[in-house]
Symmetry: none
Subunit: 214 residues, 4 copies
């Protein structure tokens, strides 16, 4: 799904047994991190989930923090590349607002459905020591930049009101979606439903519209 290009990119195609084990550990860490938080993740738990012994982790990662760093980075990396590839697939004539709607779908779909990495990365932001965030911060900046350009384009094309505070609004929207991992329950509501409700809110707000745009 994710289109991985460069050498050091986080592969999802597992090759050798060794690489598969490494991936299993990373997966397990993402899972545990998203449930227990940064300080709450114990290597023992990760080992259980990954079906290895705890010391085996050290064969693949220098330290616990290294493991966390990678999870967080992979999360951010995949969220960004996923969005990029989704946007790339859109036909040229897609309007700016439709692109934003696509980004909403990408964010929710990826964060809630595909990847523990994203959830983990999202949930432990703010608990992770600064020094572990260098790589992921860069990714997040790129991601924010993509969103920023989407919004600016929409404003340019007149699809977005000129008077809104772009940066704040962007953060509020991403926040609304990030927080969904705290309450959204696939048993109670389909992801499609959540996506369209979010798109509605983002586009029109809750208030009454006298005349439906478009």
């Amino acid at each position: 799904m994710t289109t991985v290009s460069a050498g050091s990119a986080p592969s999802e195609e597992t090759n050798s047994k060794s690489e598969r084990t490494r991936e299993r550990i990373l997966h397990a860490a993402a899972q545990v991190l998203s449930k227990k938080g940064y300080a709450g993740m114990r290597l023992g738990d990760v080992a259980v989930v990954a079906e290895v012994q705890a010391p085996a982790i050290y064969y693949y990662f220098e330290s616990r923090d290294d493991l966390v760093e990678e999870v967080v980075w992979v999360g951010a990396y995949r969220v960004r590349t996923n969005l990029e590839s989704m946007l790339a697939k859109l036909p040229a004539e897609t309007t700016a607002m439709q692109r934003i709607m696509c980004a909403v779908e990408s964010h929710l779909w990826f964060g809630l459905h595909i990847s523990h990495y994203a959830t983990a990365a999202i949930r432990i932001v703010g608990q992770v020591p600064e020094q572990l965030r260098t790589r992921s911060l860069a990714e997040e900046a790129r991601y924010q930049q993509i969103w920023h350009e989407l919004l600016k384009a929409a404003q340019g094309s007149g699809e977005l009101r000129a008077d809104i505070d772009l940066r704040t609004t962007q953060m509020l929207i991403l926040g609304a979606m990030n927080w969904a991992s705290e309450w959204w329950d696939p048993q109670q509501q389909s992801l499609e439903n959540l996506v369209s409700a979010t798109q509605e809110l983002v586009r029109y707000g809750m208030g009454l519209r006298v005349e439906r745009p478009r």
Copy 2:
């Protein structure tokens, strides 16, 4: 603002020295919790912030978890009562939508400006063991209920579109605000600004309105 006097309510008026120490510890715990998360809160850190020795905490709280439980509960309790008292002050003729705007202001103002408790409670949701959440879950349910009634009233009065998914929208809005504690920086943006940007988003969304309602 909330002056709670009755029964077992969490007092903010500190009386005896003993009560003040207890409050200091509770404050400190909220602060540390919101920064480090549930598993990351060490009693030693709390003690340093509260300017006591760590074992003194046990004079006031049965256990670490008891302390966390109280912080989380106080957070939820104060958020709810703050909203109630804000709403109670509104004149009778206030429209349903205006009440919602007031609730937005209350939520952001209280969560970001007034109380580490609220931030703590928000940030560690999902990390705290279920058994510590009994009291706070009840509070949160009451809070959600108040919001739900606000939205329903607005829908009833025709100020809200009839076709939106109330529950999902409510969660998205609260999420957008909760997440603000992750990125909002008082140095860069005034709270007033954040509040009005949020109110705008909630009310009208980002999209162009052909004709401004009302």
Copy 3:
């Protein structure tokens, strides 16, 4: 019951309120000690039993060890003086063996029925640091001495076999009685019964006697 003569003797007649509290604490300590052992006795438990607050203990005793020391000493002291007063009451013509039987009764009766102090003193022998035992060791030596004289007298009068190892036998008998506190249950067996069974064992052993002496 105990005939206390000298000034510093452990009084059982409580006079002032202060003295009564002190006695209550001492009692409580004896009770807790006999149940939990030396290291297991917590001042908090003692305080609960004595119905005071823990720090109050320090008004009456220099330290925890001081309290223990006194309990142990009072136990030893009372066991000794009790035996002495029992023996003193016997008519002049009492035989040496009858005196021993009286001592057996005294030991059991006192250790099991009257006094937690004795039980405590007995049970924690060997756990208490040497330095706390100075006074009580002296008492115990006196007690052993009394027993030794009783046995020697009986050997002298021909009531005891000449070929038995007096010291070892004495220790075995006292041990048999001391250990009774571990298993004797007043609900299942009267003290009188235990006393006479012990007297029988001491006097005749378990073995068949061809001809009953005397």
Copy 4:
């Protein structure tokens, strides 16, 4: 002496290095327990004696209480199996009284000479929380049962007086021997001596026998 091989029996043959370490910790715990009592046993002391670091104990035992439980059980188990194997070695024609004498020897020899476990088990009876005693209580019941049968057989064969209270006498004898760990000093008296003095007391008591039975 006891060579236990079957099932979950506490092995004395140490095999792997790991098993030897575990045994060393168990030994150390028995030693410390018998000296300091249940509450007085610190894992630090055990670790020093076992020549490991304290946390290493947790590699072999779930908790401090688990360690205590095992010591107490091993003590009870070995005392019982030792007695059984001693009795099993006696020739068929051994009289019931001689069997009892053998049991006395076994108890003293094992409790005082061979095994800290036995001493520990004996000394901390009554301090150990009930829940740690399940396994050992079962062992002790079996041990008491063996003794009971020995005594009953002797009464049946006419070697024991018919009029003695079997249960009480049995407890007194075992108590006399258990207590020996409090006072017996191998420097001052040989174990052989203690054994024969005890056998004498058990068989004939202290009193004068007109005619030596048998």
